[in-house]
Symmetry: C2
Subunit: 208 residues, 2 copies
DNA sequence: CTACCATTCAAACGATCGTTTGATTGCCGG
DNA sequence: CCGGCAATCAAACGATCGTTTGAATGGTAG
């Protein structure tokens, strides 16, 4: 059960707990009663502060995506400034901010899982929301990859980026079989994940 | 809305529609009332034929997994018989049966999505069920990969296979952004997906 | 102190959930 | 022709869902 952080405001406690429970049980599977009970707030607080469950879901995304997008674009800009940049640098600019976010905040690790779940939901409304708030970042990265992979035509590049996105989402969300061992810290486990991902994806993208 | 195939038995109609709706809305998101209405059967038929919703979910898996596992192991055995086999052959033995299954049957395409959803669900009971009915196949493939990738130690290999599994699941479930164009048949779209996947994964696995 | 306003609260709303019941159907062996 | 049995059916069960209501609370500006 997710911790209810007593020092935080009602609104923030709801967001934090909702993030964790959505990650664990899905959007349909986690009820507002479970969320408010774990957050130690009144049931009606969700509709008072957010209007509806759907708006709460969107707010869970917006809170983290704003920050994540900013960091990703900044990291990409820093990489682009280096004329000697390689594929691994651009991949790192995409992965590292997600990695850092999942360390900083208590629920950050859960958010990566929530993001992965959103992909699994074919809900049209949710996909549109993500596309609106996320699409321009993906497009900038696609352009950066295109410049480093001139041997791939546009269609081939899109195919591969789609695969990369899937692999990234999956691995960062810990959907796979690999379990973190007890003698490895959460931090170094995620760092290892990112490192393996980047190496793998770079090789896949470079394939003739 | 999924088609209710009038010629099939009540039991089979339920399984087919459930597969489609679970793929589209998730296990918690698709209700038995939606399933039975679309299948044009009585609501009580689910509990009569399957006992519970959870048992229905398991039966949706069992029906296709039995066949899929058989075909994958057969394809792997065929590949292993060839001394000149390469990485792409083993990857093909894993991907092709899923590809063919998604063509043969009406709901086969949906099943790949259901399988991907199951990974996103962190439900312990469901993961155990999948591990029991699926684990030995994954282990056989892991051994086959290990023989072809002697430069990777055991841990490194597991990391990469985990990434490959994620990429495969994601891409085959069409979770990504790439949309099938109208002038491309469903069949050739999935064949293209598989082909790109295999090429990408082979390069990623071969990375030094 | 009082009046206000944002917030919290217990309680209830109607809808929908998975499941169960008991009657009804229709086929099939004797 | 009839008894039995698997299958289907309408209806209802209690539980839980997201949401709404109206009163209680508590701090703050006038």
């Amino acid at each position: 059960m997710p911790a209810a952080q007593p020092n935080f405001s009602t609104r923030e406690r709801i967001l934090g707990v909702a993030e964790t429970l959505f990650a664990r049980h899905g959007f349909a599977g986690a009820s507002l009663r479970q969320v408010t009970a774990a957050a130690k707030v009144n049931l009606a607080a969700v509709n008072y502060h957010f209007g509806s469950k759907e708006s709460l879901i969107e707010e869970v995304f917006r809170r983290r995506l704003d920050e994540l997008n900013r960091h990703r674009l900044a990291a990409l800009a820093a990489v682009q400034a280096n004329p000697a940049r390689v594929l691994e640098d651009v991949l790192g600019a995409f992965v590292s901010p997600a990695l850092e976010q999942s360390m900083d905040s208590a629920g950050g690790a859960a958010f990566v899982r929530v993001l992965a779940r959103a992909y699994a939901e074919h809900d049209e409304r949710l996909r549109r929301f993500l596309s609106d708030n996320y699409g321009h970042v993906l497009r900038e990265f696609a352009a950066a990859f295109a410049r480093l992979l001139p041997h791939l035509d546009k269609e081939e590049l899109y195919w591969r980026l789609d695969i990369v996105a899937g692999a990234l989402t999956y691995a960062m969300a810990d959907f796979g079989m690999i379990k973190r061992k007890n003698d490895v810290s959460e931090r170094s486990h995620r760092e290892q994940t990112a490192q393996h991902l980047i190496r793998f994806a770079a090789a896949g993208l470079r394939a003739p």
